[in-house]
Symmetry: C2
Subunit: 769 residues, 2 copies
């Protein structure tokens, strides 16, 4: 754990240059706008340790799978988040001496991520080996207002010398992925041009054939005025740059404005990319850096209006929650239903793929409440569009008749993951996708979605479950063998309570939605049935028979749901009784020892109780929580939020807050020593859930928002914004009770502490428990 980040309400601040944390900072200070993004690599050359990263959403490379031992059914490719052309590069030479912070004496170093206005600013003073001192300020952002663009303002001031500065802004496409399985480069050059005032490189991905043109246009000023320069365009393989030379006197400031554009063949014809890139560059450079920055601030202000959580009395918590919300918004904006939420967003390569069940289980609640309805709808449509591939994937594993198994990790719907116990067995992901449909419709009331898209997905998933279970002659019930639950510290287990419960629910919900769709639009229902050849008699009856006869492991003695068959055979030593030196067990123990142990990586039974809370009385929840919590090591960042929400539900405010703390500053404090690989984007949604669903006690009840909040002891108050069916409310929880401000002009009916309340448009209500 590192804690060098300075505390501030709206900013992430690093002071002083420490190369040992540079890769961590590169992750934390990452920028993104949903379409493209980048790690906080330095603009100028840096010979120290760094992980270069520029990413274009939806552009990926199917890297040939690497396995130790091949298993039938493994996918041949793993779609990698693709390191793309670096557009931030600005090489600087001072009288021929390269500016490289790894070789300078650095002082006054400060990095600042301004989350309110959405930009990254860096200042430093560097003294080169020859003794030249310069002050530098670099400001850059990825534009939220125009998501194919970005801009940099890079200022250099010679402090103790006058001389020639050589400044080379560039576009460098000669990059590679650190996680390349066979050390290959993934891009070919298509075309390029280096010009006096800019240039572009257009590249094409091998195999997938995505083309991306990355261009720049720049201008320089000396003390704010047009500078006299000599510019020489240069190019190399996949690279263009312009070598600019100019004289600068001691104390004068040279400023380079570099405008960048990233246009992809996903959105434009390949043969027009270069031309269109130039057009975009002309447009934004004409607009100018300051105007772009103003637009950026405005765009972020709009986001914060819907998104902000304000914590009074705890600046560290305030900073953390805003950082999480900021990164989620940088990662996904919901503008494009081909995109999704990668586990590292635009902050690193690791894990590849862009879509895990994290999206449905953790991110959907966040976007439902903080973004317009279409944002979550697009996340759902992404899966709808990949239904064909999910059916193919299931067929590959031997399933039939339109059964769908969504992939564990994917970019385009094809399974990428290749670890049999996960790829083939962590099938509960299918349930999360169904649950997200339910969650979306429950929250938005958009039942039309079910008829248009939802039911088709639900039936394909229900078909999968109905084939995945088998009748046990021994138990005279249906069983589900060979699965891995959310707790990945168990593999290939039988009758995982969570997975089986979810499977039953999926079939129940599919049947319920059939009736719903019939009642809304029977013609659509009939068309769907014909399209997918669904037989309500045989298939529907099978669903019902499974629902009525599914085996769900239960311990009568302790009256708890059993995580899986045989769980009680394990040695039951509680986490608190484990020596500290044994933790985290995923670093200290061999894999087999972990598997044999009773320790739970992340909420499993409790995840199911969280999903289906209404089905269980409070005593049941408490018994299960009291049993499983002491056995959970939370070695997944997705775990504590669920425990936090349940602890809050059970009135255990202290522990609800403790669980919240575990992930709230996960990346800012580099809690797991892995932030250098990128930030844990999807778990950030879990932190939001802890605050809103945990402390705020927000639920959907009786088709209304319901709140059951409490105020963490250390906080003076907290407030959050919630969008609900076109209405935005601000909920403030303080010692005085709960204040609900209705920021729209429509009335809203709510439940607060279980009582029905109405807050008129523009009005506010204050409610005590």
């Amino acid at each position: 754990m590192k804690d060098y980040i300075k505390i501030d309400e709206w900013k992430i601040i690093e002071e002083g240059f420490d190369p040992h944390v540079h890769k961590v900072s590169e992750s934390i200070f990452s920028l993104g706008n949903g379409r493209m993004g980048q790690r906080a690599n330095f603009e100028e050359a840096y010979s120290g340790e760094s992980l270069l990263g520029n990413y274009v959403a939806g552009v990926y490379y199917p890297d040939k799978t690497r396995v130790g031992w091949w298993k039938n059914g493994y996918p041949e490719y793993f779609a990698k988040v693709l390191n793309a052309a670096n557009w931030v590069g600005i090489d600087v030479q001072l009288d021929g001496e390269q500016l490289d912070l790894a070789k300078c004496e650095v002082s006054e170093f400060r990095r600042e991520l301004n989350m309110k206005d959405g930009y990254l600013k860096r200042n430093f003073t560097a003294k080169t080996a020859s003794g030249k001192i310069v002050e530098v300020e670099a400001i850059r952002f990825c534009s939220m207002a125009d998501d194919e663009t970005g801009a940099i303002k890079y200022s250099i001031k010679p402090i103790n010398f006058s001389g020639e500065l050589t400044i080379t802004p560039s576009i460098d496409g000669d990059v590679k992925n650190q996680d390349s399985n066979y050390d290959e480069k993934f891009w070919d050059e298509v075309s390029k041009e280096a010009k006096q005032d800019g240039g572009y490189v257009q590249m094409r991905t091998k195999k997938t054939g995505f083309e991306v043109a990355t261009g720049m246009k720049f201008n320089l000023t000396l003390d704010g005025n047009a500078a006299e320069i000599i510019a020489e365009p240069i190019d190399k393989e996949k690279y263009v740059g312009t070598v600019v030379k100019l004289k600068a006197g001691e104390g004068q400031t040279v400023t380079l404005y570099k405008y960048a554009a990233n246009l992809s063949s996903q959105n434009h014809p390949s043969d027009q990319l270069a031309e269109l890139t130039y057009a975009v560059l002309d447009k934004i450079s004409a607009k100018g850096f300051d105007t772009m920055m103003a637009e950026q601030a405005e765009a972020w202000a709009k986001k914060w209006e819907l998104n902000d959580i304000i914590i009074d009395g705890d600046v560290s918590a305030q900073q953390a929650i805003r950082f999480n919300i900021f990164q989620l918004n940088q990662t996904y904006t919901g503008e494009d239903d081909r995109l999704n939420i990668g586990p590292k967003g635009f902050t690193g390569e690791k894990y590849g793929g862009s879509t895990y069940w994290d999206t449905e289980a953790y991110c959907v609640p966040f976007y439902l409440s903080t973004a317009e309805q279409r944002v979550t709808r697009n996340l759902l449509l992404y899966r709808y569009k990949q239904l064909g591939k999910a059916i193919e994937n299931a067929a590959l594993l031997g399933f039939k008749n339109g059964a769908a198994l969504y992939p564990m990790v994917t970019m385009d719907g094809t399974e990428c993951h290749n670890e049999w116990e996960i790829t083939f067995e962590e099938i509960h992901r299918n349930g999360a996708i169904a649950f997200a449909i339910y969650n979306y419709v429950r929250y938005t009331g958009d039942e039309a979605y079910l008829a248009d898209y939802g039911l088709e997905v639900l039936l394909a998933i229900a078909r999968f479950w109905s084939q995945r279970v088998n009748w046990s002659e021994d138990k005279q019930q249906y069983v589900m063998l060979g699965v891995t639950g959310p707790n990945e510290y168990e593999n290939n287990i039988n009758n995982n309570w969570y997975t089986s419960t979810l499977a039953v629910w999926c079939m129940e919900y599919a049947l319920e939605v059939i009736e719903k769709v019939k009642s809304i639009d029977n013609a659509k229902y009939e068309a769907l049935v014909a399209k997918i050849n669904f037989d309500i008699i045989t298939e529907g009856e099978r669903f019902k028979h499974i629902i009525a006869n599914m085996y769900l492991p239960y311990d009568e003695k302790q009256q708890i749901f059993l995580q899986q068959d045989g769980y009680l055979d394990k040695e039951q030593i509680l986490v608190k009784d484990l020596p500290a030196t044994d933790r985290p067990i995923n670093q200290k123990w061999s894999w087999d020892r972990i598997l044999r142990s009773c320790y739970i990586k992340q909420a499993d039974v409790l995840q199911g109780i969280y999903f289906f809370e209404d089905q269980y009385d409070i005593d049941t929840i408490k018994r299960n929580f009291d049993y499983y919590e002491p056995r959970t090591v939370h070695e997944s960042s997705l775990s504590p939020c669920v425990h936090s929400i349940l602890a809050a539900k059970l009135g255990d405010e202290k522990r609800a807050y403790e669980f919240y703390l575990r992930t709230s500053r996960l990346d800012l404090d580099d809690y797991n020593n892995d932030t250098e690989d990128g930030c844990h984007i999807t778990s950030m949604a879990g932190t939001w859930m802890s605050v809103v669903e945990g402390f705020g006690g927000m639920r959907m009840r009786e088709d209304k928002l319901s709140f059951q909040p409490f105020l963490p002891e250390k906080w003076a108050s907290f407030s959050f914004h919630i969008g609900f069916r076109g209405i935005t409310i601000k909920v403030t929880v303080s010692k005085d009770g709960v204040k609900v401000q209705n920021l729209s002009d429509q009335n809203i009916d709510l439940l607060v502490y279980g009582k029905e309340q109405t807050v008129a448009g523009g009005a506010e209500g204050i409610f005590a428990n």
Copy 2:
């Protein structure tokens, strides 16, 4: 399946040249002498498909592990059987035109493996592109009499031309492993010399630093007389050769005698290797090819005396069983306790490592009965010497206090395998190692071995089991969680009956041997206890408590041992009811589907019953056989032999014979389409077991050999040799009953069909059922 091999009692014969089966033949016609061996690569250049393979026993390379997803505890290296310098190469040019069968019209091609005398002979007539016709005969062998040497006699006769022959015998060390994980070469050159009449290359393995000098010495004759030649030594990296030119007239025969030696730093000082190699070459070349061949025939005659199985009335079966015995003898001679029996012997690279549990479970019975006592003793000592590494390996996984887990795959005792469900969980291998000690002592009566070595191993293994089980509060018994049994179509299961049964037996046997050793030599016992810090009070009591309270899954209803917890939850469709298109399931089904199914890859419960047959009454054996056999797909070559032996025991002669057939010609007929990778050496021991323990019904009973034979319907008779405590007997089973010939001068007491019989030295007895 291919069946191009001609049937012959003593020879393996291929007629006609078919490049498509060349790699299969390269495996089948492999040569070896326990110390070195090679695939049947052509001497002359061959540009067609081929897998080059020359191997030196015990010389390996720890190739960097390749994994998809790293798990804690994985070994970093995988010891590869190392492709070593090729000493068979003899390049031939006819008036400058290269002889290459891939580019010639080939007729009269015949390959013959003479198993009686232990050599490989190849004849062919080739017509080159330019129309030159030559007849060639090549004879070679790896000497059993002098296991660092080999020799080749290579004769060329121009048929339709007179001209210049250029013949280049060579030693080529510039080889690589096809299975190299990162496409690296594993050898560095140390020194070399090319001479007029021979030369050598000395190489050193990277990382492990083994050095091997491979040398040659040759001479040529023309029609049997010394030939007039021009010889020019040449060398390249890791290569030496001598370009020999001579004139040969139409119909004249040029014969090259090439003597080879392979000396390793395992057996000689590195700095003397070259000198010693020359000395060996001088010795064998002085001796001459014909003398060496005579010695070879003599050495093999001795082997066959102890080894041969004679089947009357079925030449195909006769050929097959001799092939299996021949390959086993080529692979392991028992001369060196640092060596072991690789699954592919000297016939291919695949699987790496040299030692699997195959050695103890399948090969030990073969060597016990067909070789001198010290051969099996050396196999046991191999494990004894690696006990330290086995303790380290267990410690790596969290075990303590001298508990040992022998590796799944190894060369030097270090675990090489990296597939968690096997590496960490297929721990029954530990039991097979204990069982081999029991089997050896039971067979040989060598109880001193227990005091000197056996008990130390047994206690370390018993300690492992005692730590590997845990007390289940739920069951109030000990359980063993997270294992993979011999049936690798189940992974990470709980309470595998076989593994748990074996674990209990290991602890029982360790306690029994403690008493035995105490009674033989109490001082040795006390010394051992002190050395390994064994506490008979606490540890011994724990063993006893586990033995008394171990949970072994059992189905009361069907009265069968349950392969593992939950086995009865599976869909029970018998193998015979599976569509043929679904088999073999390891090629047709995804891995998860295989895991969920009830299908058994190889004998699991039945393996346990085979080991501990005396503990179960015949009805129990029959119930379990009748239950598990129909669920077994035998997709391991190690499976059918056990079923064959049990079927024989149950009196089901027809099926005993059917199971025997499944593996008897596995490689000769390339049954699984994988013989090109090498032969299935260890399963060959299983075939021997089917004949001797199955058809011959041989067992140890009351400290005596016991026979309960039957004659397979298709055979007129069969006989086998058995060595037992210094006595060799020949057992012949025919329609007339069982004839036991005592080939030694001591009396032997036997049980035949359950009755005590004595056969005097030099006498014979005939017994009927």
